[in-house]
């Protein structure tokens, strides 16, 4: 398949403006004649649904939660980047663009990233106008903090709840449209299939999670903004309900899946405590601004942290990366923590943890200032662990947090299925092989508020989708497919719960396709996963019926898709014989243990194309070229 990114040519600074002008418009009176489906209502989906409703389109929005205010964007703590340069510290659109391309280890599309940096400034304006209570200085102006992977302070924040406040801003804008009747909200509804008619995305099949009703929704365009697939690992910082079903079933209808192996491990999460653990909790990366990360120099040192004298501590990030210190990007901080623990320096009962210590910052700034900056995070840590981080250093360990991979989209955020658009974490577009902190919120809102409203109009105005009959063969086939999957899941007389399968799958993916990967491990995973999947379909135990509120059935459908996606992740990781960003292949590293990229052979986006059940997917490549930021070995030393 020929992958055309439709990225504009010419000077990058003018590309988006030029492109916007070239995009066709839909007459205001005609907008209400178009129906648009938005699946997911986090920052990307919520912002898109609200903005498109406001433009006058008929919008149908869907989420699996009980309210559009719950999407997992809400859990983002640290902040949102914008190239405002309010602090006169040398920031600019170009610098944010540069940092993001470099941070992504030169595996993203330059034109997309530049546009993201450009609209970042509008996002802050928009959110302030909506009443997002960003942190302020005494003069009443906006405050900023610094974040990993950048040497300027460009991160806007609302205490430790930035994601919550941005999401509530989008949610309120969305509710306003719901009140005005331009958007219809369908809560507790899950997308089970995509309807493709004559090659165009024309609707979705959903299941009502309360009564199991399977319904068909026809539209002129479909937007997926359903987030990432981190829950493939079972233990992740994602919400329990986060799933890949919408994007996976779109993949099986012909949308290409890009860079599935690019997953991000976040360095600062609360370590795992036991087998029953259901999820991992992130401690914001912003803590690395004031916290110092260390381990005991002596392996297996079991003394309490306070009894380990200063000269027996190894502040390994400050030692290895003197210019960025504790603020190195996430992939580097995560791998460094793993290396220390693998070498026996880990702390805590399991030995899988490192200290994040605020004692020095408290001496310098006072406990009050630290409480002001991170109070809610410290409380959360204490609630979970029972330890007071004002007195004892936090223990942290990396955990899966974000997935850079996702459905392939062009510059217009359209997938390889015309009329199917993909926004936010669900697409692959802007973060390359590693996402910088405070950039996910930026991308979600950029896609939803400032990009899709332009590009979807162009699609509708040029494609002019016609009518689709409710009983068209493609519609019937999609309904039958959704019903068949449910029936198969309920039919079994199995003995194992869905969670037990999911936990086992997660462990395989974490062990062989997690923080470090190698050929032998990936090949092993590629035999273990299909075997476990086979057992799943034979032996999974799902009680009850389709026609009721059935949480086990919901989970089973999602886990079934995770099995297939996990296999694609391993396949992609095996194919990419280099290390870049979050994808660390042990065979490809520098003598100092840093990621060794191979630009000559792997400077491309891997876009996988579904073939058929049981058949290997086809690999398509979108070559990446860098005109403005020249690939170099990422150095944070």
């Amino acid at each position: 398949m020929e992958l055309n990114s439709h990225a504009p040519t010419g000077p990058i600074e003018q590309a988006w403006d030029k492109h916007k002008f070239e995009l066709k418009l839909v007459n205001p009176a005609n907008k209400r004649k178009y129906n648009i489906i938005v699946v997911g209502c986090g920052l990307a989906g919520g912002a898109a649904a609200a903005s498109l409703g406001e433009l006058g389109y008929n919008v149908q929005c869907f989420c699996y939660q009980d309210s559009p205010r719950r999407a997992h964007s809400i859990a983002a703590q640290g902040g949102i980047n914008a190239a405002k340069n309010y602090h006169n510290d040398g920031d600019s659109i170009f610098r944010l663009f540069y940092d993001t391309v470099k941070g992504g280890d030169f595996r993203s599309r330059e034109a997309n990233v530049y546009r993201l940096a450009q609209v970042s400034v509008n996002i802050i304006d928009q959110c302030v106008a909506q009443g997002v209570p960003f942190a302020r200085e005494y003069g009443g102006l906006l405050d900023n903090r610094s974040f990993g992977g950048a040497q300027v302070s460009r991160t806007f924040y609302a205490r430790g709840q930035t994601g919550q406040q941005l999401l509530l801003g989008a949610y309120q804008a969305l509710e306003r449209q719901i009140g005005l009747g331009t958007v219809t909200m369908n809560e507790r509804t899950e997308m089970l299939d995509l309807i493709v008619v004559d090659g165009q995305a024309r609707g979705i099949v959903t299941r009502d999670l309360c009564d199991g009703k399977i319904e068909v929704h026809i539209a002129d365009a479909v937007i997926l903004a359903t987030g990432g697939y981190g829950n493939v690992f079972y233990l992740s910082t994602n919400a329990k309900g986060c799933n890949a079903t919408a994007i996976w079933r779109a993949y099986k209808r012909g949308a290409l899946f890009a860079n599935p192996c690019f997953t991000q491990i976040h360095p600062t999460c609360i370590p795992v405590a036991g087998e029953y653990q259901s999820k991992l909790t992130l401690m914001s990366e912003s803590l690395r601004n004031d916290g110092r990360i260390w381990v005991p120099k002596k392996p297996g040192d079991k003394r309490p942290p306070a009894s380990i004298p200063e000269d027996e501590r190894d502040y390994y990030l400050e030692r290895r990366y003197p210019s960025f210190g504790n603020l190195v990007p996430r992939d580097i901080a995560s791998r460094a923590a793993k290396a220390e623990c693998d070498a026996g320096h880990g702390v805590g009962e399991t030995g899988l943890g490192v200290y994040l210590d605020f004692s020095e910052a408290m001496k310098r700034l006072g406990q009050q200032k630290i409480a002001e900056r991170y109070g809610n995070l410290f409380e959360m840590y204490e609630r979970i662990t029972g330890e007071n981080p004002y007195e004892v250093p936090m223990r942290i360990y990396p955990a899966i947090h974000y997935t850079m991979g996702g459905l392939w989209v062009d510059y217009n955020l359209m997938s390889t299925i015309p009329g199917l658009f993909v926004l936010g974490e669900a697409n692959f577009s802007d973060h390359g092989a590693n996402r910088l902190g405070a950039s996910a919120l930026m991308q979600g809102l950029a896609d939803g508020y400032f990009i899709i409203p332009y590009t979807i109009g162009n699609y509708l105005a040029t494609a002019k989708p016609g009518k689709v009959a409710a009983d068209a063969p493609a519609v019937k086939e999609a309904v039958a497919n959704a019903a068949a999957i449910t029936k198969k899941l309920l039919n079994g007389s199995g003995t194992r719960t869905v969670d037990s399968f999911h936990r086992e799958l997660g462990k395989i993916v974490w062990d062989y396709c997690g923080m470090a990967r190698n050929e032998a491990g990936l090949k092993k995973a590629l035999t273990l996963i299909p075997a476990l999947r086979e057992e799943f379909w034979k032996n999974v135990k799902v009680l009850g019926t389709n026609e009721e509120f059935n949480q086990s059935l919901e989970k089973a459908g999602r886990v079934a898709d995770f099995f297939e996606l996990a296999e694609l992740m391993c396949r992609d990781a095996l194919e990419r014989n280099e290390s870049c960003g979050g994808h660390f292949r042990e065979e490809f590293q520098t003598p100092e243990g840093e990621a060794l990229r191979d630009d000559d052979h792997y400077s491309y986006v891997s876009a996988w194309e579904y073939q058929a059940e049981g058949a290997a997917p086809a690999l398509n490549k979108e070559p990446l070229t860098f005109e403005y930021v020249h690939p170099s070995q990422r150095s944070y030393k």
């Binding site: 903005s51 406001e54 939660q65 009980d66 309210s67 559009p68 205010r69 719950r70 999407a71 997992h72 809400i74 859990a75 405002k84 802050i124 304006d125 928009q126 959110c127 302030v128 106008a129 009443g131 209570p133 960003f134 942190a135 302020r136 005494y138 003069g139 009443g140 102006l141 609302a158 709840q161 919550q164 949610y171 309120q172 804008a173 509710e175 306003r176 909200m185 809560e187 309360c210 919400a239 405590a273 036991g274 029953y276 259901s278 999820k279 909790t281 959360m380 609630r383 979970i384 029972g386 409203p453 003995t495 719960t497 969670d499 135990k541 009680l543 009721e548 509120f549 949480q551 086990s552």
Partner: protein, 257 residues
């Protein structure tokens, strides 16, 4: 530790519900309350019994999806804690624990401990926003917001919409939820233009949904996992009164709750 649970089981909105007794022989102090229920549910599924339905999502205390009554207290009644963040170290071996859904006319039961909180969304849709069309905003630093105002707005904006305030209130009033949004937006300069309209519309919708009136008991503040203060209700009352006086017949749609 060994626990005995009495859990409200109700097949669907129309069915009759009742308490069912379960033994949990293997709870651990490091588990969260929901993880303890996960363990019980796994055992129930293995025995072929319908697992207990409960809402949850982020399990970090921020999405607002989880929540039920534990021994008659919303989220268990531990300061600033949602049930997903409540850990079993607060319980001891041999404890008997009663679990029931939020009880309020405006929150009908969906199944077991799951309720429908759509009424909260409709209150926000009625007026809990600032009208700010996408794309037309001026530079963010053009509006100076005094730090204190921003902090007070943030205190109120921390509401997660879980419904504990309603469940704890003997009247099943939504005054704390409504007050939180009115205070969040009302403390900011951007929220002034629609302040009257917002108070009238949100209060009207609150009454339409069947939430009863506030009688200043304060149970809501005591159980709020985000510790939203009672003052936000006073703010609703003030805004509503001022708006109702100036608004003519539109304002005469019932009390502030």
């Amino acid at each position: 530790m060994k626990l005995t649970l009495h859990v409200w089981r109700q097949k669907n909105a129309g069915a009759r519900g009742g308490l069912v007794r379960y033994e949990v022989p293997n709870a651990n102090e490091h588990m969260s309350f929901l993880e303890m229920l996960d363990v019980l549910n796994e055992a129930l599924i293995e025995k072929g019994e319908d697992p207990i339905a409960f809402d949850h999502d982020c399990r970090e205390g921020i999405c607002g999806m989880c929540g039920f009554m534990i021994n008659g207290k919303a989220h268990g009644g531990f300061k600033g804690t949602t049930v997903c963040q409540l850990h079993m170290r607060h319980f001891k071996d041999g404890d008997v624990i009663y679990l029931e859904p939020w009880r309020a006319k405006a929150f009908p039961v969906v199944k077991d401990l799951v309720v429908d909180r759509g009424s909260f969304d409709r209150i926000i849709a009625a007026g809990g926003f600032i009208t700010a069309p996408t794309g037309g905003a001026q530079d963010a630093n053009t509006i100076a917001v005094p730090k204190q105002a921003a902090d007070l707005a943030m205190d109120a904006a921390a509401c997660i919409g879980c419904g504990a305030c309603v469940a704890a209130c003997p009247n099943a009033a939504a005054a704390l939820f409504v007050g939180a949004k009115i205070s969040h937006l009302g403390h900011l300069p951007q929220g002034q233009a629609e302040r009257d309209r917002r108070a009238l519309a949100m209060v009207r919708q609150m009454n339409v949904e069947g939430f009863a009136n506030c009688t200043n008991i304060g149970e809501c503040e005591a159980v709020c996992p985000k510790q939203i203060p009672l003052e936000v209700i006073a703010r609703t009352n003030g805004d509503y009164l001022k708006a109702a006086v100036g608004a003519g017949p539109e304002g005469a749609a019932g009390g502030t709750g």
